[in-house]
């Protein structure tokens, strides 16, 4: 019999509907994998009972002849940035340790309503700030991948959705939610040989997701196949009157319209994404990707996104600025941690609570954000960054006059060892250099695996589309997926 935990979301969904197996069998299989994978530290909270509860409900509904939901019988992992009613939600911070929401985020609520079950709350970089999942208060997430040649170094699963990427590639869950502010879905997907899509800003409601940088935060799915991503994204998307930035548009049928035939499509290759010194293997993978898309029928043209070099500094002004304000609510007054030294006044309580509750990277970004918004610096930093952000968005608009989508690398390297870049925040920030521009422009972008590098680690490609054109992004990613024949998976060592 097939190992149920090797199945994709589509296979589980279809097999469950066909009666090949019960939802309970699937949930039990994944629960067992989760329980056996403590070494990866992918979960902050495991919720096997929740997974079984949803599975039993799906089985009962099926027995009763009810029409199954889009994700009936499919257990998933939930990034611990989504508030889940009755289940601890921490954003991987000490600040929110023990915080149990009385409400369910819109996106997670939609997934449960579609029949999905929750395997647990996935670890992440603290408040989604990080690119290696080393900033979590609950410990590093370990990638299931190892370099070849007996190198036993623990590798980064990417970040901030590192629990999601690690768990999916290790078959602890067939799919998971992620959130992407500057690359937090795409970079971890690339590091672990899975795919993930950040939709157009506003497709998924932000209501109930612990905020990092409001103008950039977007939820999206992560899974092993493009189809699985399409299935999840359809469920997660949709207008939410509780989020003012939510797009009031119908949700397209992305899965039904999947097609890897790219005839008539023009792919833009932004020349600024190939700087001197670009990793040769990344560069070669990009070239292979170009050939695959040509093979799928697309035209390929070179385009220019001239302000690309300013994207990263712009991002590291805007995102921390918003974060410094968004995280002000964690003050020890109403919920979460409160450190109240003897005889402390209000200011002392703030200082003690925030000193103890936030990790170093969160503090660093709060300080950067506070600085760039402060009187005398606001115009030089924040206002200027907003102008550059507009120019970056304009770059994409102009490029899309010549092409329908862009193909770029996802990350400048494959996964690195934990601890390797921790000493130098700037080196860490460079991980986002290819993912940040699309975030600043609010465009849909997807990471899809292309192959392995010489060390045996996955390398991904990134497809960026026009606003609201997730379909073309998914279709081009599908064309790559079909041609790359990427089936590599990490050897189980955990």
């Amino acid at each position: 019999m097939t190992n149920l935990t090797d199945l994709t979301v589509a296979e589980i969904r279809d097999g469950f509907r066909a009666g090949d197996f019960s939802a309970r069998e699937v949930a039990e299989g994944f629960n067992a994998n989760v329980a056996a994978a403590k070494a990866l530290n992918a979960f902050i909270v495991e919720t096997p009972d929740k997974a079984l509860e949803a599975a039993d409900a799906a089985d009962r509904a099926k027995a009763a002849g009810e029409t199954p939901g889009a994700l009936a019988g499919v257990p998933i992992g939930m990034k611990d940035l989504f508030c889940t009613k009755g289940v601890q939600t921490t954003a991987a911070s000490h600040m929110l340790e023990g915080f149990v929401p009385t409400y369910e985020s819109t996106v997670s609520g939609k997934l449960w309503a579609a029949g999905a079950g929750m395997l647990g709350k996935l670890n992440l970089d603290q408040f989604a700030m990080g690119s290696s999942n080393e900033t979590s208060y609950f410990g590093n997430v370990i990638s299931p991948w190892k370099r070849g040649g007996g190198d036993n170094a623990a590798l980064a699963p990417g970040g901030s959705s590192g629990g999601s990427s690690s768990a999916i590639s290790a078959r602890l869950c067939p799919a998971a939610t992620g959130t992407d502010t500057g690359g937090s879905i795409r970079q971890p997907a690339a590091f672990t040989g899975i795919s993930g899509i950040k939709p157009t800003y506003g497709r998924c409601s932000r209501w109930g997701i612990v905020a990092f940088a409001s103008s950039l935060d977007q939820a999206g799915p992560m899974a092993r196949t493009v189809r699985d991503n399409a299935i999840l994204l359809e469920v997660m998307s949709g207008f939410d009157p509780k989020d003012s930035t939510s797009l009031d548009l119908p949700v397209p049928q992305w899965e039904a319209n999947l097609s890897s035939d790219l005839k008539g499509k023009t792919v833009g290759i932004p020349k600024e994404y190939r700087p001197d010194g670009l990793n040769a293997e990344i560069s070669a993978m990009w070239d292979r990707g170009i050939e695959w898309l040509k093979d799928a029928g697309a035209n390929v043209v070179e385009v220019s996104l001239p302000h690309t070099q300013y994207a990263l500094p712009t991002y590291y002004i805007i995102a921390p600025a918003e974060a410094s304000s968004n995280l002000a609510r964690y003050d020890g007054v109403r919920y979460g941690q409160r450190d109240l030294p003897d005889g402390a006044g209000l200011q002392d309580m703030y200082a003690a609570t925030r000193a103890a509750g936030f990790g170093p990277e969160v503090k660093r970004r709060i300080m950067i954000g506070t600085y760039v918004l402060s009187a005398g610096f606001y115009d030089a930093y924040y206002t200027q960054a907003q102008k550059v952000r507009a120019l970056i968005a304009r770059d994409f608009e102009l490029a899309f006059e010549k092409c329908d989508l862009l193909l770029t690398p996802t990350a400048p390297s494959s996964s690195f060892a934990l601890g390797e870049k921790q000493a130098d925040p700037l080196a860490m920030y460079l991980n986002d250099v290819f993912t940040v521009p699309a975030s600043l422009a609010g465009l849909p972008a997807m990471a899809v695996p292309g192959g392995l590098d010489a060390a045996g680690l996955p390398i991904g490609l990134q497809v960026i589309g026009k606003a609201l054109d997730e379909q073309t992004v998914l279709n081009a990613s599908l064309a790559i997926e079909e041609r790359s024949g990427f089936t590599a998976r990490p050897d189980k060592w955990w």
């Binding site: 508030c83 929401p101 109930g208 612990v210 940088a213 409001s214 410094s324 002000a328 003050d331 402060s374």
Partner: protein, 499 residues
């Protein structure tokens, strides 16, 4: 124009005043959440997840609050900005759950407008002055700390957290305590007319930050101080007076005015320094990324405009010109929207019952309301709102006098009974037999008796002491128990004395 001057040792000083008024928007729900806004509810019973700033919560603008701000802007003839934006004002305080207040610094919803004040409402010739309004923006209110609940800790009540406020910022156009008081009163009148704020300063629905500076006439503006959260018209005037004199004293002693925030202590009638500009917060304003710019379309603006009532200035002129009221009566009746509404119902009913035009009955109605009714309400410690006599009954009473059914004197008696029993005037007149008689026979008989009983006085009258005429009339009325038509009595007394 005001010639208010402070006489200092070095000469005259002019006072420059600007007011920032915070007015709580009348709406059922808060600015960015669905929580209720009732005054006086139990602590923390009107708090949504958004108001408590729970993780992942997002603000959604409440259309009604926006509408109220726009209508207020229209009522002061202000520019309405079809594109405005919300900014975050960042600071830490226990009554501010988000760690920032959502406000509008850079692009307020309402731009420049103006309010006309009358310096002395009782004086029809009093000059008027136009006070400029710089802007109106909408913002969230904060919660409230309670320091008296526990020996060592403070409690937080978030009922007010997120309630919509309008901040109405005047230009520094006022020059005396009286002007500041008149501006605040007029603004409150307009807000109540529009229905965008209840104007209840004692409940905190409206409070003013008072900016005061002094200068020698003709010189540049001096350094100003800002006295926060002053909650009555009287206190605003007191703050201006006290603060201006304090500043003059400081300056004349060779000191300098520090730009600072001050607090008013009504018990001691003085202001105290709260914090100086040096310890002012850096609020790190920036556009709220959770909210899109606020874009108003013409349909919305048209609806707002159409929903505005007749405003006080227009109403006052109409009362004077179309209804023929005195300037003072018109001003008094229009100073408050509820009073005007009461008066208009009274006039409409009086005109309907009597089959006359409103202008025919307006004067009598105004006089009765302002003297009889107000006198009675004052005596009973009641207001128009709690008045035992409503405008319909008042109109009926006026009609009974107008058609001669009862005399003015009897009307006063009837009114007293109405106040006591709440009965209709017609019923009272009927039951108590107070109907006025014009029966000449009965009156002639009464006159004859009066003249017969006072033969000596008749003698004197006929001898030229005409002042006694009133005596005979009074005696006749008394004999008729006040129910005789006074005009008929007059005629018949005159006739009998002549005879």
């Amino acid at each position: 124009m005001s010639d208010y001057r402070i006489q200092g040792a070095t000469g005259e000083w002019e006072v420059v005043i600007g007011l920032e008024v915070h007015a709580q928007v009348t709406s059922n729900a808060k600015l960015f959440s669905g929580a209720a806004t009732a005054f006086g509810a139990e602590p923390n019973t009107q708090v949504s997840l958004v108001d408590a700033a729970m993780p992942g919560m997002l603000p959604v603008p409440n259309r009604q609050c926006i509408r109220q701000a726009v209508r207020t802007g229209m009522a002061i003839d202000a520019q309405i900005n079809k594109w405005s934006r919300f900014d975050r004002k960042n600071y830490f305080y226990a009554d501010l759950p988000q760690g920032y207040q959502i406000s509008q610094l850079y692009h307020p919803i309402v731009g420049e407008g103006q309010i006309e004040i009358v310096l002395d409402e009782k004086n029809p010739d009093s000059s008027t002055k136009v006070i400029g309004v710089e802007r109106i923006h909408v913002e969230q209110d904060a919660g409230k700390l309670m320091h008296d609940q526990h020996p060592t800790s403070s409690y937080v009540d978030l009922n007010r957290s997120g309630v919509a406020l309008m901040e109405i910022v005047s230009k520094p156009d006022m020059r005396s305590p009286a002007e500041a008081g008149a501006y605040l009163s007029k603004l409150r009148t307009i807000l109540r007319y529009v229905g965008s704020c209840d104007g209840n300063m004692d409940q905190g629905s409206m409070r003013a930050d008072v900016n005061v500076s002094v200068r020698k006439p003709g010189e540049e503006f001096g350094t100003r101080t800002e006295t926060k959260n002053v909650n009555s018209v009287r206190f605003v005037m007191a703050v201006v007076e006290h603060e201006a004199n304090r500043q003059v004293d400081v300056l004349e002693a060779g000191g300098k005015i520090v730009q600072e925030t001050r607090l008013y202590d009504p018990d001691r009638n003085e202001t105290r320094s709260m914090r100086s500009k040096e310890d002012a917060h850096d609020y790190r304003y920036f556009p709220d990324p959770d909210l899109l710019p606020l874009v108003l379309d013409d349909v919305f603006l048209d609806e707002c405009r159409a929903s505005l009532p007749e405003l006080p200035d227009v109403k006052r002129k109409r009362y004077e010109q179309a209804l023929g009221l005195s300037a003072y009566n018109a001003a008094t009746l229009t100073a408050d929207a509820d009073t005007a509404r009461w008066f208009e119902t009274l006039v409409a009913e009086a005109a309907r019952i009597q089959g006359k035009s409103e202008s025919d009955v307006a004067k009598a109605s105004a006089n009765w309301l302002l003297s009889e009714l107000y006198g009675a309400l004052n005596r009973l410690g009641k207001t128009l709102e709690t008045s035992p006599v409503g405008p319909t009954d008042g109109a009926e009473l006026l009609a009974l006098v107008a058609d001669g059914t009862i005399s003015g004197t009897i009307a006063k008696q009837v009114f007293e009974i109405m106040l006591e029993t709440g009965d209709k005037p017609g019923k009272i007149v009927e039951e108590k037999g107070l109907k006025q008689t014009s029966d000449t026979g009965a009156i002639e008989a009464a006159v004859a008796t009066v003249l017969a009983n006072n033969a000596d006085k008749v003698e004197q009258y006929r001898g030229g002491k005409e002042a006694l005429f009133g005596f005979f009339v009074g005696q006749t009325m008394k004999a008729m128990q006040g129910k005789a038509n006074p005009q008929v009595v007059n005629e018949l007394v005159k006739k009998a004395l002549a005879g």
